[in-house]
């Protein structure tokens, strides 16, 4: 039995300990905001926050999560009011939107560490998150807008 906390709620997992967190979130818990994109930690669509760090849920197995706290897009804010979510909407960032939960979670972890990120900080933090629609310049702008609100 693996005990972990997801979006501030306790969960007990007794399935395959080698299963990635992604599939526990999506198939078992119905938290489908976290997306499957590559299954290999290459695209960032499945990004969640584990104990303050952005991680790829497709590449973190359940056995590595005992006692850990996980936050998904569904738990980032009560009503979509996180400064990043507001900034994302204000800048009309999403096109298809499929990667955007991962982008927002990655950016949330960045702002925790660097409340006023430089362009270089944004590049380094966000380069693991692919957007095939090409919304990158709006992602950059939205992170800067959110940083102003946080600061």
């Amino acid at each position: 039995m693996i005990k972990l906390t997801i979006n501030n709620r306790p969960h007990n997992f007794d399935g395959d300990p080698a299963m990635p967190l992604l599939w526990y979130l999506r198939d078992d818990l119905g938290l489908t905001g976290t997306k499957f994109g590559c299954g290999a930690g290459l695209c960032g669509a499945c990004t969640v926050i584990r104990d303050g760090e952005a991680v790829r849920s497709c590449s973190i197995t359940m056995k590595d999560l005992a006692g850990k706290r996980v936050t998904t897009i569904e738990g980032l804010s009560p009503n979509g009011t996180h400064p990043l979510q507001k900034a994302w909407m204000q800048a009309n960032v999403p096109q298809c939107g499929y990667c955007q939960a991962g982008q927002i979670m990655q950016a949330a972890a960045l702002l925790r560490k660097k409340p006023r990120p430089t362009d270089q900080d944004i590049d380094s933090a966000m380069e693991g998150n692919i957007c095939r629609c090409g919304t990158y310049q709006r992602i950059r702008a939205a992170i800067k807008t959110a940083a102003k609100e946080v600061a």
Binding site: W23, D27, T32, A40, Q95, C96, A101, G134, Q137
Partner: protein
């Protein structure tokens, strides 16, 4: 042209409208833009009643607008309803957008070809205007005043002299009984009163799914779940057309959660939209299905395509391009010009296979019950889902219901519903709802690839440095092989994308298409054949400019000559495709192309900084999907050959643009996709097997590689609406290559650039 019908009491669309609603349906003549949609368009035209739009108002005033186009990131699910809402003078807060299912009654639903606004702007406008007129008449009748004294304003009809008002909901019952005004009597709102649409809309709206996307609530195909649903993952034949020779699934069946395996028959040629075949592992979770699949032991019978090697094939294409091919355009006498002793310049170009790599891999849920299938799919083409599933299972198309979810990217891949047919077949076998999930590896290895192509250009140069003769040859495996396995040549759709409609004003001009066999699935990819035709032609134009010692932008303008409507018929182009549009309505007007180039020069500060020392600027302009685009790309190349793109300018004349905010987003994204395919896009094949499998070996542009800033400049225009989803892609790769030449003196004639040594 469309016609609007009052269907308030005809019982359509159960579940969306209540019995008391006022519902209008607007019918559009079906589009016939793509070869393969003729079948659907024909059936739609034959149907007695085939509205493309439903607009209804409930007694509580809620306006429902059914959108029948798929949302893959263009914003179309919001933009078309905005057109109807604007004409209706509806309050957007009281508008609900419903997604239509696949239904031939809608007319064309294949969301591709950048044609949703071109095809349906008028119909949505007429639907909204008709409802407004009927509500106004209903109010006027109740007050017993002339309708001319009444006006519609933000969900109310107001009697202007007295100030009396009715809300739309209060008028529903009366309006539903009125005849629909004849289209020719409809008066549209003047542009100055547009509320939601156009460049100066005071109440422009954001996409309806925005908040759901930013909070993780939006439902894509990947997110659909049905009670009792099983999950399947499929091992496809590694070579197209291959078959299962033997299967050992013992180890797979021992994986926890795996229920069973199922062999899916390989398609019978032509491949069309049929499943590839292979072995499905069916389990109670995605993870178990994936794990079980790793334990399959399959021997394949590869078939003839096992000999396909992309390096050899590349040489064949380039060799073929050096020989005469099928003539698709011919004006003057290029051979005489080449023989005249003029200076001759020639060059070959190459673009490899490309994968779409939508962020959401192909996925579908299907539920077979009692001879009927219900599917939930991220599809651009729900009617093709109906037909493909029906054909695979010996059903009638109307026995297949296709719900359209949001698409996690489409780019043309999701017009082909092979993956939905897989889910339906497995559901029938298991008796349960089934979700088929393609892995990223499946997606990269088993795509309908953007065609590889070899091009050859030759020009004779006159005394002033301008070309007197232009020969352009293109060789590529044609999309037409999808429906005709013996096809060796392209067809009008591919020719009409930069091969037979190059706008340069050159007296002797010939375009040819060489023969090529197809060994892998080929399909349309955002902007299609424009990618390779515009890359080679606009790179070659740049080569000629440099050979003449002239400024490349000024030279491109000179090559266009005085602005005019192209007369392609007189140049031996018998059937110019023109993106499915009548030429009188959408002529190819080089004045508009000149104008976007001139604006690009101004906005980019062209000519102000001298290229060289690792900095360069390049330009290319093209018309595609009836829109005119000039792209300027600035590059920096450092001492290690690393490329950065600090700035892109996209100048766009797409006629009337309904949703400029989303149009800008499309052109920003197109700059990224164009840069991505130029920089690093390549799928290669050995022994008939695709070598790449995921984003490590099929890289796409990331935030640190994408253009740092793309400025989109929209030419305000009252011309008919053109496409916006695709036209931003084609000029990027040549503008980029031209910029690299300006920066480094190195001419890149093959994509991707990452394979070239720049220093």
């Amino acid at each position: 042209m469309s016609s609007v019908t009052n269907i308030s009491r005809r019982g359509f669309l159960d579940g969306i409208f209540s019995a008391g609603a006022f519902v209008l349906a607007a019918q559009v003549l079906p589009k016939n833009a793509w070869g393969q949609t003729q079948e659907y368009a024909g059936k739609a035209a034959a149907a007695a009643f085939h509205p493309s739009i439903y607009l209804g108002i409930e007694p509580d005033g809620t306006v429902y607008i059914v959108t029948h186009r798929s949302e893959m990131g263009t914003g179309i699910r919001t933009t078309l309803p905005m057109v109807a809402a604007d004409e209706l003078e509806a309050d957007w807060k009281r508008v609900r957008v419903e997604q239509g299912i696949g239904d031939k009654n809608y007319g064309d639903q294949n969301t591709d070809g950048s044609k949703s606004i071109r095809g349906f702007f008028t119909a949505f406008r007429e639907a909204g205007a008709s409802a407004r007129v009927m509500l106004t008449s209903a109010a006027a009748a109740q007050w017993n005043v002339p309708a001319t004294e009444c006006k519609a304003q933000l969900h109310q009809i107001i009697h202007t002299p007295s100030g009396r008002k009715y809300g739309y909901g209060e008028l529903v019952a009366a309006a539903a009984k009125l005849p629909v005004p004849k289209p020719e009597t409809l008066q549209f709102k003047p542009k100055s009163e547009w509320r939601y649409i156009g460049e100066h809309a005071p109440n422009a709206q954001q996409i309806v799914d925005l908040a759901d996307i930013c909070t993780g609530k939006a439902i894509y195909g990947m997110d659909v779940k049905r009670d009792g649903m099983l999950y399947a993952s499929i091992e496809h034949p590694p070579v197209m057309g291959g078959k299962v020779r033997s299967l050992d699934d013992k180890a797979a069946l021992q994986v926890k959660g795996v229920h069973q395996t199922m062999t899916i028959d390989t398609f019978k040629p032509p491949y069309a939209f049929q499943p590839l075949g292979g072995v499905a592992v069916i389990a109670d979770s995605t993870w178990s299905a994936f794990q079980g699949r790793k334990q399959l032991k399959i021997e394949w019978e590869d078939g003839p395509n096992a000999a396909y090697d992309s390096e050899q094939y590349k040489q064949q294409l380039l060799d073929t391009a050096k020989k005469p091919g099928k003539v698709v355009r011919n004006a003057g006498d290029v051979d005489a010009a080449f023989a005249s002793g003029a200076k001759v310049i020639e060059a070959s170009y190459y673009v490899p296979l490309l994968a779409h790599a939508t962020m959401e891999p192909p996925v579908a849920v299907a539920e077979y019950r009692d001879g009927k299938v219900t599917a939930w799919a991220p599809t651009q083409n729900p009617q093709a889902v109906q037909d493909t599933v029906a054909k695979a299972m010996n059903l009638k198309p109307e026995d297949v219901i296709c719900h359209v979810t949001l698409l996690g990217g489409g780019f043309g891949r999701k017009s082909k519903p092979d993956y939905v047919a897989e889910a339906a077949l497995i559901s029938k076998q298991t008796g349960k709802p089934v979700k088929v999930v393609w892995s990223r590896e499946d997606d990269i290895r088993f795509d309908y690839y953007h065609a590889v192509s070899g091009m050859y250009h030759k020009a004779a140069i006159g005394a002033n440095g301008m070309p007197t003769a232009w020969l352009q040859r293109s060789v590529f495996p044609s999309i037409s092989a999808m429906n005709d396995a013996s096809s060796m040549y392209g067809f009008d759709v591919e020719y009409g994308m930069g091969l037979n409609d190059l706008p340069f004003d050159i007296p002797n001009h010939r375009a040819e298409n060489g023969a090529a066999q197809t060994h892998i699935r080929i399909g349309w990819f955002r902007s299609v054949a424009n990618i390779y035709h515009v890359f080679s032609a606009l790179s070659f134009a740049d080569e000629l400019a440099h050979a003449a010692g002239r400024d490349p932008l000024e030279y491109q303008l000179a090559m266009l000559g005085p602005g005019k409507v192209l007369d392609l018929k007189s140049q031996g182009v018998a059937n110019y495709w023109n993106y499915g549009e009548p030429y009188e309505k959408y002529p190819f007007d080089t004045k508009r192309l000149r104008r976007v180039l001139e604006i690009a020069a101004e906005k980019s500060g062209w000519g102000k900084r001298k290229p060289g020392n690792g900095w360069g600027i390049g330009v290319a302009a093209a018309r595609s999907f009836t829109s005119y685009v000039a792209s300027v790309v600035e590059v920096e190349v450092d001492a290690n050959g690393r490329i950065r793109i600090p700035q892109v300018h996209q100048v766009v004349d797409a006629g009337l643009i309904v949703n400029p905010e989303r149009a800008r987003a499309q052109f920003e994204g197109a700059a990224v996709m164009g840069a991505s395919l130029a920089l690093s896009g390549e799928v290669s094949v050995a022994d008939g097997r695709v070598r790449q499998s995921n984003f490590h070996d099929f890289p796409v542009a990331r935030i640190n590689q994408a253009p740092r800033q793309t400025d989109v400049h929209i030419v305000e225009s009252d011309e008919l609406p053109g496409g916006v989803g695709e036209p931003g892609v084609p000029p990027i790769a040549p503008a980029f290559a031209n910029a690299i030449f300006a920066a480094t003196g190195k001419r890149i004639r093959e994509l991707p650039f990452s394979k070239q040594k720049l220093v």
